[in-house]
Symmetry: C2
Subunit: 134 residues, 2 copies
Amino acid sequence: MELLSVSLGVYYGDFTIAAASENLTASQGRALTALRRGPAAMRALADTMTCDASNMTGIIDRLEKRGLVRREAGASDRRVKNVILTPEGERVADAIRAKMHTTHDGLDRLGAEDRCALYALLERVFTTAPTPTP
Amino acid sequence: MELLSVSLGVYYGDFTIAAASENLTASQGRALTALRRGPAAMRALADTMTCDASNMTGIIDRLEKRGLVRREAGASDRRVKNVILTPEGERVADAIRAKMHTTHDGLDRLGAEDRCALYALLERVFTTAPTPTP
DNA sequence: TATTGTTATACTCTATAACTATA
DNA sequence: TATAGTTATAGAGTATAACAATA
């Protein structure tokens, strides 16, 4: 119970801070984090982040404008556009993830191993794996 | 750990849903919930919700336009405006709270007593008591 | 001078609806 | 017809800066 009160909000809050440290909003950070697992179609990304497809256009537009992702036409279905992390995007995504793992605020009383497991769990809840479209 | 993964997001998510069921955004719901404990100055509300004071103006404007809160000049300090729930505002705030306590999604495995304690805890974390200004 | 609250401005997120190009 | 993605539009949250009234 104690653990819970300490942890609630910490992940969301820390994530927002971690993303902000790279001059990104939480949504942009989430998209980048989801893309760490590989390319994903716009539609899949929107599903992952449970937002309307039109939102993804804007979010990805801003990330693309900053050179963190790029769009690539789908091979089999030419309607599809797959979003891919650029090397710089990978760097930023990794930086966010690293910051998440070294931010202990409010989780000090957890052992390193538990905290690691905890973050893995939260990360999974936070960004479900998008389904890449071939 | 299980409990945590289940509970994370549930409170925020359920709260957003509960607020939406009253046609309110999460921020509006939070302000209303904070005001359940009594009147609060704009500044105190902004501190509670950790947002800029200028945001509170807009949020309270919208709540006031719908008759859920009203502004009242501070007695001792005439710069201050205290925000107060109207009877309708109280009804809506209570409805949100009631909905939060009857929404079990993802918390089924918790006993009623535990769930009650859990929500009390989360509610405290979610909306710290604002400091009313006399 | 410092503080409270507001206004003006700008950016982002969000959803809905209408559109295109594919399938 | 249905789907993927975009555009246009509108409402809400957010922060910064400038301002009036008060302390």
